[in-house]
């Protein structure tokens, strides 16, 4: 009985890995951070998400044990107006990367069970379109931070493409005149 249980467990553990790679296995996350606002105001989550695989991947959302709700949002500036809307996913091209970045795709985290303060490590479970998930530690940063800072738990990936496009970034060229 014990051997049978172990055998089943072994099969369950090996099958997905040997036959198909999951999206999560192809994903590398770096520079993951949260912008913490005072009081009960929502936090925002940012990261660089790299896809090392040969198939496109879609980040569909995230869960947290600390925040009651985590939503994937997209900010845009059009005609001089800032807007934010909920989206179903952020595409990550094959052998490419996508950014959860200020003024673009980002996670919005609300209803914190307890106050999160700058320096805290917050574990988020990222989910992908094939149902796979990836646990990632985000570092909490003060409201006026502009990046993950020196204490990032997920440092920049080596060989990062420096000129990667940031679609819809707040500073993107729009309404130049």
């Amino acid at each position: 009985m014990k051997a049978l249980g172990f055998g089943m467990l072994l099969c369950a553990a090996l099958l997905p890995g040997t036959v198909y790679a999951t999206s999560a296995q192809d994903v590398r996350v770096s520079q993951a951070w949260l912008r913490i606002l005072p009081g009960a105001l929502p936090a925002a989550g940012y990261a660089v998400v790299q896809n090392t695989g040969s198939q496109p991947i879609v980040l569909t959302g995230a869960r947290s044990t600390i925040y009651g709700e985590v939503m994937l949002h997209f900010s845009s500036v059009a005609g001089g107006t800032s807007r934010m809307r909920m989206v179903d996913g952020m595409p990550i091209p094959a052998h490419g990367m996508a950014h959860l970045a200020p003024g673009s795709y980002h996670l919005m985290l609300t209803r914190a069970l307890h106050p999160v303060i700058p320096g805290d490590h917050v574990l988020l479970t990222l989910s992908f379109d094939d149902g796979s998930t990836l646990n990632t530690t985000f570092i909490a940063r003060p409201a006026n931070a502009v990046d993950a800072g020196p204490d990032s738990v997920t440092p920049p990936a080596t060989g990062t493409t420096a000129n990667a496009a940031l679609p819809g970034t707040h500073g993107a060229a729009q309404d130049q005149d």
């Binding site: 009081g39 949002h73 107006t81 807007r83 003024g103 003060p142 060229a173």
Partner: protein
């Protein structure tokens, strides 16, 4: 096709229009220079000098005090419309303004960031105070009656729209993303759009800080 033919055979109406516009611009520049009796400041951002009204409003600051635009005369003011439940773009703008303040060094003490809430229903003075102070000590949160906020927004041809609420009652507010910069005399001088660089903003604010209020 008809348009093309008309364009070719006529007396270059586009050129004539451009010449007229250039003439008006030249006349305007001369007239403005004549009034000020000094060369115009070499501002880099979108120059709105003479095109937008002086800083004026009747709102409540983040300590609960009733304030008008006159409260900030003598300071260079950076006016921005936003709301505290905005977790992405407003903090990005305020964080960038904080970095600009740091770059100004001691000069920043003569600068005020006025963060006007376009969500007065949720943004009380106390919430605004903790919010703006998390970004920069020179930032002041302003709120007021919906009518007073709307009046200030309209004065600077800004706009905001409350989006439909979700099932839990939370909602977003779409709002203009520009930063309006006023000189020490309260005159509107430049507009920083989202595409503006921090270098240009710091350059212009420094220029306005180093210029006498009457020039």
């Amino acid at each position: 096709m008809r348009h093309l033919k008309w364009h070719r055979n006529s007396f270059h109406p586009q050129l004539a229009t451009w010449l007229l516009l250039a003439g008006i611009a030249l006349f305007g520049a001369v007239a403005l220079g004549g009034c000020q009796r000094t060369a115009p400041l070499p501002l880099r951002l979108t120059n709105i000098t003479g095109h937008m009204p002086n800083l004026d409003f009747a709102l409540t600051d983040d300590t609960g005090k009733a304030v008008t635009g006159a409260e900030y005369r003598g300071k260079v003011v950076l006016l921005y419309f936003g709301y505290t439940h905005c977790p992405d773009v407003c903090p990005l703008t305020l964080a960038q303004l904080h970095v600009s303040m740091q770059r100004l060094g001691a000069l920043a003490e003569d600068t005020r960031i006025l963060f006007v809430s376009v969500d007065p229903a949720r943004d009380t003075p106390a919430i605004l105070k903790s919010y703006v102070n998390a970004f920069d000590p020179r930032a002041v949160g302003l709120t007021g009656t919906p009518r007073a906020v709307e009046a200030l927004s309209k004065r600077y041809r800004s706009a905001y729209t409350r989006e439909p609420a979700t099932s839990d009652g939370s909602y977003e507010v779409s709002h203009s993303s520009a930063i309006y910069v006023f000189d020490r005399a309260g005159r509107a001088r430049v507009l920083a759009t989202p595409s503006a660089t921090q270098d240009d903003l710091v350059h212009d604010v420094r220029l306005l800080l180093n210029t006498q209020a009457n020039s």
